[in-house]
């Protein structure tokens, strides 16, 4: 047998995957009329134009909806302060987040 013919049995180098508990997203709204919608800008370049364009279009079709633009106050990897989450929980009916790039 030459060196090139030696057969190697190689151990698996990859870490073990974990079981993942699956959760559903929140139930959807029937309608956006009169609803409060937060537009969350995660600080990525381009997010502001995306969200403000969507807000402009939605405001035209849903004049009684309250649209709130929120640029993140922390880097996109860090959580927002608790008081903002409380504000969101108390006021928001729905949210649009941008941008995943």
């Amino acid at each position: 047998m030459t060196v090139d013919e030696i057969i190697y049995s190689c151990l698996e180098p990859r870490g073990n995957m974990k079981d993942i508990k699956l959760s559903p997203p929140s139930p959807r709204l029937g309608d956006l009329k009169g609803k409060t919608i937060y537009f969350v800008d995660n600080g990525k370049n381009g997010a502001e134009v995306i969200l403000k364009t969507a807000m402009k279009l939605l405001q035209k079709d849903f004049p009684d909806a309250k649209l709130v633009y929120h640029p993140k106050t922390t880097p996109y990897t860090r959580p927002e302060p608790q008081n903002w989450w409380r504000e969101l929980e108390e006021n928001a009916d729905a949210a649009v987040v941008a941008v995943g790039d």
């Binding site: 090139d4 190697y8 190689c10 151990l11 180098p13 870490g15 073990n16 559903p24 370049n45």
Partner: protein, 432 residues
Amino acid sequence: MWCIHMQIEIEKRGIPAVSIITNPFIRDAKASADMFGYPGVRRIVIPHPVAEAAQKDTPAKIEAVYDDIIKALTVPLTEEESRTGVQKAIPRERIACRGTLEQVNRFFIEKGMSDGLPIIPPTEERVERMLAGTSHSPDEVLGRMDPEQWEVTVEKVAVNAVMAGCLPEYMPVLLALAEALIDPVTETGTFVRSTSSFAFWSVVNGPVAKEIGMNAKNNALGPGNQANATIGRAIRLFLINLGGTEPGINDMSTVGNALKYGFSFAENEDESPWEPYHVTHGFKKEESTVTVFKSWGFRPTAMIPGEWASLANIAWNAKMTRGGMVIIMDPLLAKQLAGQGITKRDIQEYLYLSLQMSVREWKESTQSLNAFVGSGVPAWYKELADDVMLPSLTGLDDVQVIVAGGQNNPYYQLFDSVLPAKGTIVSVDKWR
């Protein structure tokens, strides 16, 4: 990933949400949604790019998906989107493959389980020899490594160490390295996923560096030393095989980074006029540590005639650095500075006071001022006039100094370093 993460945090509070993503990030968004256990979260895809000059096209892109945004928030979830239960992990076979050296290498590359360079086949016998380099049990769990949160055991570290070409005596350093990558402080998942192409690298301090023959002198950051080279390579193999890093899926580096092949070196403690790096950060000199840093890269250092061994020269070269920095300084320069009575603390203070940028520059920098506020900049910065000059560093610790090199030239290299600039420092000794 962070867009999906934010969306999920909102969904968890009972608020329906939708993310807007761009098309190169479809797989990244899916991987993130799956990993967080919310595979059904709704995403709307618009064409890339959306940054800078491309923003002029954004209104048309949003108009094209406008109806989809409304539907995403109002149309009831499908059965598939509402799925609950447990997604069972796919169990790993103990043997990954069997074959000749060429077949094994082809298999590892095709499966995305290597960095593209040839590997040493991780056979049972070789892994067993590698495990002799530590007293820890092969089954001991170190934790879960990002980006995919895979479980890391001592044996899995050993398998990758064999692949990288490491020797058994490197195991305590390698286990400490894996621990540092698992530590949430390192934010491994964030910086693996980033489009900005961050590289991870490490410095070894204390007696272990000499015990395993690491190079701290000539060409310390370059090729030629087995311990430096293979420990450096192991960083990338760990990220690939222990964390599940995959280019284009959860590693979105756009240009890439040659430093991502990995490098490691030892501090030249013998020739440094200052205390070793790990001592500065609270360890004893006789203890051994490994420190993991994350960087875009390093900048060439230009010479100001007549002022080479001066703080002014370092400041001149550092002025374009954003965030933190690690100055890797040849002992020759360190000694010349120390001869002038300059300490590492003096270097930190000098750079903090001399590196400035205007409020306008802060606002126009690649991340918003808001983002930097979260990194430690006082919120009142935002209220200042645009032409007011501010420190461009958030504090003295944004500057770190490590001494390495062969004393051929009073030179230094200036690496940027994600804050906290000191990196993640882990004890090697507990892994012996």
